[in-house]
């Protein structure tokens, strides 16, 4: 399907001013406001410094052979040469995703693909005309390295989740609701927030069908299952998978377990108190005969989830070599990962009875939405990432200079994730942190190692910034604060829509914010900031 090593993409001009990873990692200096390195915070996943150095060495060797690396800065347009307005199409597509569903839902439902294509072309055509091969390289790179694996993972998770049906009917008391929310929250990190929402929303709706006051149950479902629960693995929430693709280790996100548990515990306590208050006002149904124990059909799909986890883990732990495709450096183990995920999805389709998918109202539409919209997002994000990666030498220097401390990253990433899709927002601030803490041109995977806090004592002594708290803050901000509005994360709207179709009165866009997310979530996040990020 692809032509390996296409000539046009192999020879993009790299200006003399560009200093990619030729700069040795040891030249990195600490940012002025960076926290003192905390060696003990770095989890001992492997010999980190050795791994980072080995990667650098491998990279340097690869460069000698004229290969391009995954960091994406070798053949592309240098970010410091790009003006800020080149990121306007990126802002345009994100604002379209945020505003059209609210202002023109019918138009958006039928034409979102065209709107996405419009913004992509508004960016791609002038970019290619101006920068030729370097621009083509950038676009090929982001599609091959980011977009395709991203879509394959979401497709795999969505397909397997679509085969799981939770049946039965419980009575929606505060205790039962609390347990259902907890199950969904724990599930989200392993089947994705979309998958967990899809599987758990109907049991929650059925359990509470008899209740008059149930809007808050669905709102807390959005908080916990559709967002915060996805914080622990790259499978949980798309931003974390983008982090994984860009060099964050699979199990590193487990470091979010403490802040996540803290937030989940606070929210569940608030939920229980609120639900108890409303429950006492309910008139119980005349008979409880409709109660039916919960059971899960299509359980064999859990094997396919395990296969997907295995595929993703495999790609992070094994190196099978690399090759160049259309000028882009590709790792074989990543292709194996994508193949495994596709295989798991196909097996799920083949082995799951059609009735189960019908009972789930399974269609391919949500994946088509993701595919169309993220095709536009990933194209238009190219200049934004390049500018941010250029650090203080790029046009986004004021932003980079303004965001200094981990708590600032938590809130800026979170605030933008509240209104824009959190996956590109995460990538933007992941890149901002690299641009801020490490010199322009550093190998992205090496920078990711430093952001994870994997530093040797020698590297700490050399003043390399320990980015652990920064990455923790960015990850938490992107995942947690997607719950702040309906438009913060994709499953939010899906849950709202399913609940409305089941007859639940859901708050308006501003009603959700002013009645629920600002008084409950934002206050929780303020407390979280003081506990974890200051």
């Amino acid at each position: 399907m692809f032509v390996v090593s296409a000539a046009w993409a192999q020879a993009p001009a790299v200006p003399e001013t560009q200093t990619p990873s030729e700069a040795p990692a040891t030249d990195v200096v600490a940012a002025p406001d960076a926290p003192a390195p905390v060696a003990e915070e770095a989890p001992a996943v492997e010999e980190p410094a050795v791994a980072a150095e080995a990667e650098s060495a491998e990279h340097a060797a690869a460069e000698e052979h004229g290969e391009e690396h995954g960091g994406g800065h070798h053949g592309g347009v240098p970010g410091k040469d790009l003006p800020l307005w080149t990121a306007l199409p990126f802002a345009g597509i994100l604002l379209s995703i945020a505003l059209f569903p609210l202002l023109a839902p019918t138009f958006w439902h039928h034409h979102f693909g065209k709107v996405s294509a419009f913004w992509a072309l508004v960016f791609i055509i002038p970019y290619v005309v101006k920068f030729h091969g370097a621009a083509v390289y950038d676009i090929m790179h982001i599609y091959l390295i980011d977009y395709i694996p991203f879509i394959i993972l979401l497709w795999g998770l969505f397909t397997a989740a679509g085969g799981l049906v939770v049946r039965g009917k419980l009575r929606g008391s505060p205790g039962v609701n609390l347990i259902l929310l907890l199950i969904g929250t724990l599930m989200a990190s392993w089947v994705g927030t979309t998958g967990a929402s899809m599987v758990m929303i109907r049991p929650v709706l059925r359990a509470n069908a008899w209740r008059k006051n149930k809007t808050h149950v669905i709102v807390f479902f959005i908080f916990l299952v559709s967002n915060i629960g996805g914080a622990l693995t790259p499978l949980g929430d798309p931003p974390l998978f983008l982090g994984f693709i860009h060099g964050v280790k699979f199990f590193w996100t487990m470091n979010l377990i403490v802040p996540m548990s803290f937030v989940v515990a606070l929210l569940l306590a608030i939920f229980y108190a609120l639900d108890t208050f409303y429950y006492r006002k309910e008139t119980p149904p005349k008979e409880d005969g409709a109660k039916e124990p919960l059971r899960v059909d299509g359980l064999h799909n859990l094997l396919f989830f395990a296969g997907i986890v295995g595929g993703v883990l495999f790609s992070g732990m094994v190196k099978l070599g690399s090759f160049t495709l259309a000028g882009v450096h590709m790792e074989v183990q990543n292709l194996v990962r994508d193949g495994v995920i596709i295989g798991m999805g196909v097996l799920s389709l083949v082995t799951t009875k059609k009735k189960l998918r019908a009972d789930n109202e399974f269609t391919w539409f949500p994946i088509l939405e993701v595919a169309y919209l993220f095709a536009g997002i990933f194209a238009t994000i190219v200049p934004a990432l390049a500018i941010l990666k250029a650090g203080t030498e790029g046009a986004a220097a004021p932003l980079i200079n303004a965001v200094n401390k981990p708590w600032q990253f938590f809130w800026v990433t979170g605030a933008l994730s509240s209104f824009l899709d959190n996956a590109p927002t995460y990538l933007t601030f992941f890149t901002t942190a690299i641009g801020k803490l490490y010199p322009a041109g550093i190998e992205e995977k090496v920078a990711a190692t430093y952001l994870m806090g994997h530093l040797s004592e020698a590297q700490i002594a050399q003043g390399i910034t320990d980015g652990f708290k920064y990455l923790l803050a960015i990850s938490a901000g992107a995942v947690f604060m997607g719950a702040n509005t309906y438009i913060g994360n994709a499953p939010n709207f899906m849950v709202k829509s399913i609940a409305e179709e089941a007859g639940v009165k859901m708050p308006s866009f501003f009603g959700y914010m002013f009645k629920y997310s600002i008084p409950i979530l934002v206050v929780t996040f303020i407390i979280t900031t003081f506990v974890f990020f200051v």
Binding site: P101, P105, E501
Partner: protein, 193 residues
């Protein structure tokens, strides 16, 4: 057409309600007494409005009583001895009105709304009434980024008419969760030009 009065009663709300209901029941009367906890009746006293919003005990409650039973309710209130109750005012109701709006995406609830507006009791008038039923088969299933409903009934308007009919309609419509109705505004005889 029956005549109704609005009584504004001063006293702890739950006590007043319980006492009047008990008194009327003890007399074996079929008096129609509807308190503002059953249907929202617009409160013009801002302090009471805030208390209502905060679920605090109010000292002023509104009751709609059929005119023939007004004397009985008055007697109940004046006979309360443990906790003093008082009728602050009594006005004859000319008609009542309330505003509503709805966005329903569930066929069962949509049918309830459509039928409620179809079989209106005589005397009720709908002002600026708008009801749209839309079906969009392309919106079947779930959406992540472009939410749309396969079926929707949306609309708004103002219902106006005799208080007993308005109360019936109010209860009927507000049984549908996705319909929002403002409190009932009472218009009194003495206000009429």
């Amino acid at each position: 057409m029956k005549t109704y009065v609005e009584m504004i009663i001063e006293g702890p709300e739950e006590y007043a309600r319980g006492y009047v209901r008990g008194f009327v029941a003890a007399r074996g009367s079929h008096a129609e007494v509807i308190f503002d906890d059953e249907v929202g009746i617009d409160e013009d006293d801002i302090v009471q409005k805030i208390k209502e919003a905060l679920h605090l005990t109010r000292e002023v409650i509104h009751a709609v009583v059929d005119a023939e039973s007004a004397a009985l309710v008055r007697e109940a209130i004046t006979s309360a001895q443990d906790v003093p109750l008082k009728v602050r005012s009594e006005r004859t109701i000319d008609h009542a009105r309330f505003e509503y709006k709805f966005g329903v995406y569930n066929r069962e609830q949509g049918d309830l709304i459509i039928n409620a507006f179809k079989d209106l009791p005589t005397g009720i008038a709908l002002v600026d009434h708008d009801l749209n039923v839309k079906e969009d088969p392309s919106a079947h299933g779930k959406e992540l980024y472009s939410p749309a409903h396969e079926y929707s009934v949306t609309g708004h308007g103002v219902a106006k008419g005799p208080i007993d009919k308005i109360i019936w309609l109010y209860k009927e419509l507000t049984s549908v969760e996705q319909l929002t109705a403002e409190d009932i505004t009472l218009v009194f005889k003495e206000n009429q030009a």
